[in-house]
């Protein structure tokens, strides 16, 4: 039987003298992520909070230590999580065309015992959730990836992954917004620009959005 909402557990830990980490759970789970995003939004409205960032199942809160304390904010967070979260609106749906010709296609196929077509079918099947935006500008952590595609990260990360590369690792998938180092397996590429510095907002994805990939010709 699912636990009633009023017992939603939250654990807070100091993250230095002006921030704390509030953990709602340790599972990759859409409901937990929805609660984390709602909690971050509620915390951002407080005067003593400078910044609240939702993680997969946590919120990192930067606060003004002249206005509040770790304990006072923890008490406020405990009150907030016992409230029924607002009905999560379905996030915007992004349809992303992918040319599945990534340099790791063969290696991924060999490691998983799948043909290229099977990889494409599996990768394009789900509607993924943007669990969080971060790491580098524009990066969205998307998931969950079908179990059949689960692989640990590459042993040796690449020093440069081209922008637009579509990649998988663990139960996650993502698109490199910028040319950066990276340790995920590259299975394709997209022409969609995830981060445009001079657009407002510069980032295509928001936490809670949904993403559907489809195979495109190069």
């Amino acid at each position: 039987m699912p636990a009633p909402r009023s017992t939603t557990r939250v654990r807070t830990h100091p993250l230095g003298d002006a921030a704390l980490l509030a953990e709602l759970g340790t599972r990759l789970d859409t409901a937990l992520n929805t609660r984390a995003i709602a909690l971050a939004a509620a915390l951002k409205k407080r005067r003593d909070v400078r910044q609240a960032i939702a993680g997969y199942a946590s919120v990192t809160v930067h606060f003004d230590p002249d206005q509040t304390t770790h304990d006072a904010l923890t008490a406020a967070i405990k009150r907030l999580v016992t409230k029924r979260p607002p009905m999560a609106e379905p996030g915007r749906l992004h349809r992303i065309p992918v040319v599945y010709d990534g340099p790791d296609m063969d290696a991924v196929g060999a490691a998983l015992g799948l043909s290229a077509n099977e990889i494409v079918t599996l990768h394009t099947r789900p509607i993924y959730r943007v669990f969080l935006v971060g790491f580098v500008p524009g990066w969205g952590y998307l998931g969950p990836l079908p179990e059949e595609l689960e692989l640990p990260r590459r042993h040796v990360p690449r020093t440069r992954v081209p922008a637009g590369s579509v990649a998988i690792a663990g139960r996650q998938t993502g698109i490199y917004p910028l040319s950066t180092p990276g340790g995920w397996h590259l299975i394709g590429r997209t022409s969609v620009k995830l981060f445009l510095p001079d657009s407002d907002p510069p980032c295509l994805f928001r936490a809670g959005d949904r993403v559907k990939f489809f195979a495109a010709q190069s």
């Binding site: 100091p14 230095g16 980490l21 993680g55 971060g134 790491f135 917004p177 510069p202």
Partner: protein, 311 residues
Amino acid sequence: MTDVMRVLKPGVFTTVQDLGRPNAVSAGVPTGGAMDRFAHRAANLLAGNEEGAATLECTLSAPHLQAVHSCLVALAGADFDPQVNGRPAPMWTGIFLSEGDELAFAGRRSGGRAYIAIAGGIAGDRWLGSLSTYMLVARGGMHGRQLLAGDVIAVAGGPLAPAISGRHLADRLRPDYHDHALPSIAGPHVRRLDAGGRKVLFGSPFKISRDADRMGYRLEGPVLDAPGEELLSFGLTAGAIQVPRSGQPILLMADHQTAGGYPVVAVVAGAAMPVAAQLLPGDEVSFTEVSVEAALRIRAAQRAALDSLIS
């Protein structure tokens, strides 16, 4: 806008920085801004600016500048042996420059990052609410890049008059940049270390590796083992000490990645980040465990030092 300085030599890596862009984190963009926020704020106050005005952050060496308009400047942070027209000039003091005066630096004596504030506040490109230069996407400050010879620095406006030249921050109120034992608070994942590991973290000297920039410093020395299940990514903070699988800790600095999944075993006290900002590859550093309350007392003392400059 008024042009005030011409860049004769740019220095190794000089960028325009302010107090960063805290609201950009939802786009995955780090807060950024001045690495040594104490020196940045102090330099601004000494020059009669708001604390959040943009300054020049000068890494390893500072630029050679010529005033094209009379102006009040202030230097804080690392001591690169400042000189005006070839004569020694004081740090942590408002200095008046006349048109044609040259501000140069003879060489690094201590520290890694010096800050130059100019009365009126340095002008630049504003991106996502901040003038801070963010090199990864080439935005903010001086067209998203480091200073180059021939650049002209303008001030945004405000007080150009030398009304408060000579304002000074007393020695005893400055950070002790030579004390590399950084007060730090145990992090959310400190329990992943065994008793021995925790002792090593809070006590053993580490060395700043060559892999050290505005994003963070990879530390050399003892290897920390923080085993356990892979963590789900969460929001990070400057000052966090992460332990990746290699066991070589990483100290996150101003332009750090906004989220990550490595265990965070400690977080450097906010008031110790100015000292961390002055560290260079090869420097030794250690972490002294303190309570949140102790860290806040150091923060309050530092704030009082800055407040002494607000008349």
